[in-house]
């Protein structure tokens, strides 16, 4: 590796690129807030509804209705923000770390690679970026509700899409042992178990999707219920206050924020970790090592060992 000269951190060009990347992180979120404000119908109090639909087409012959909803827009905004964050953290990398952000970036990369290596084994050592991407996207998608936007993970379509992606990966590795072996495996230990095994295969993505979606949605619903309850309570208790204070839901100050530490922050980050963890365990557990190695032996290829799983 060639030694690159340390970038001039104070130079004007470096600063300008930095500001551009910070704008790349913040502007998509701001654009989402503006879109939400423009499209939210005026209504009284707190209502529990799904994602706003910005655009939908008239179904023509043989077509279903296509929706462009808040969850799609928000997840793209989150993706652009995460891309901006990654570019910002890796801006001005040197062999010897001179900036704080390089230390943070190195810490993140090392942690994700260690996590993947510990849980999936040496064969999957290069899966760090994928797992880190899933975890980061999921965590930031859940945390976006802290700025008042709809969490994309509170929409079952988004989490189901991720779960189907993981399902394809699992299937890809299960077929490594040969299609026939996989088919035979469904009838083990006795043929009566075949339907149950088949349901078990399909249950993995369904349970992954519903677990994530249900946790985020339940947090949002409980927050909305508490918000509306406190609004009603403050209307009935504090209506004697003078002027505009009578209409303000003053009791809503404080308590929802404390509860959101659990329902939004802890629950969101936890579910991101669990989704990534289950992805790792399911994919790593899907590989039929014995059958695969037997097939490789037949074709005169070297055996593969999954070290330190």
């Amino acid at each position: 590796m060639t030694e690159t000269a340390a970038p001039d951190v104070k130079s004007k060009k470096f600063r300008m690129v930095d500001y551009g990347l910070i704008a790349m992180m913040i502007l998509p979120i701001l654009a989402c807030i503006v879109l939400k404000v423009l499209f939210t119908p005026a209504s009284e109090g707190v209502n529990i509804s799904g994602a706003l639909v910005f655009w939908s087409n008239e179904p023509e012959l043989g077509m279903t209705t296509l929706y462009l909803s808040e969850s799609q827009i928000n997840s793209w905004a989150v993706m652009i923000s995460i891309l901006g964050l990654c570019l910002y953290l890796t801006h001005g990398l040197t062999a010897k770390a001179v900036t704080k952000r390089q230390l943070i970036a190195e810490w993140l990369v090392e942690k994700s690679e260690k996590l993947v290596k510990d849980n999936m084994g040496g064969f999957f050592a290069e899966w760090g970026p994928f797992i880190a991407a899933i975890m980061g996207l999921s965590a930031f998608s859940s945390l976006i509700c802290l700025v008042g936007l709809f969490s994309p993970t509170g929409d079952v379509n988004v989490t189901f899409g991720w779960a189907i992606l993981v399902f394809f990966l699992i299937m890809h590795f299960k077929f490594r042992g040969g299609l026939w072996n996989y088919f035979i495996g469904l009838f083990k230990p006795i043929p009566v178990f075949a339907p149950m095994n088949l349901i078990g295969e399909i249950a993995t993505p369904v349970s992954m999707a519903f677990r994530h979606y249900g946790n985020i949605l339940s947090g949002a619903v409980i927050s909305a219920l508490i918000g509306s309850a406190l609004t009603g309570l403050s209307r009935s208790l504090l209506s004697w206050l003078p002027g505009v204070f009578a209409d303000m839901p003053l009791l809503r100050v404080g308590l929802p924020a404390v509860l959101s530490i659990y329902f939004d922050v802890f629950s969101g980050v936890m579910q991101a970790f669990i989704f990534a963890m289950l992805t790792m365990l399911n994919v790593a557990g899907a590989v039929p090592w014995d059958e695969w190695n037997a097939r490789r032996k037949k074709r005169n290829k070297t055996e593969i060992q999954n070290t330190a799983a």
Partner: protein, 100 residues
């Protein structure tokens, strides 16, 4: 069918949907017991081997979150029954009596 009967039918439908949502949340019992067991065992494990506290805690939280899943299925069914089902069921009812 006159309007009085229709109102009665809608009322019965909404009431039964609420009852169904309540019954669906019986699913909350299972995860409660399961997570209680998990935390009790984790406390025992930490008491026996205090040096493993961080490992045991992270495994416990992971297991709790997975055990929560069945309860969440019940919760999703309840939420669907309360917020989604009334609209579609009302349409079905109105279509059946020919009001739509």
């Amino acid at each position: 069918m006159d309007n009085g009967m229709l109102e009665l039918a809608l009322g019965i439908m909404l009431g039964l949907l609420g009852l169904g949502a309540g019954c669906a949340m019986i699913a909350g019992i299972g995860p409660g017991i399961g997570e209680g067991n998990a935390v009790a065992k984790a406390c025992e494990a930490i008491g026996r081997q205090p040096e493993c506290k961080s490992d045991v805690t992270s495994t416990m939280i992971m297991g709790c979150a997975i055990a929560e899943t069945t309860g969440l299925y019940g919760l999703i069914v309840a939420i669907l029954l309360i917020f989604v089902a009334p609209g579609s069921f009302k349409d079905i009812l109105l279509t059946a009596v020919g009001k739509k």
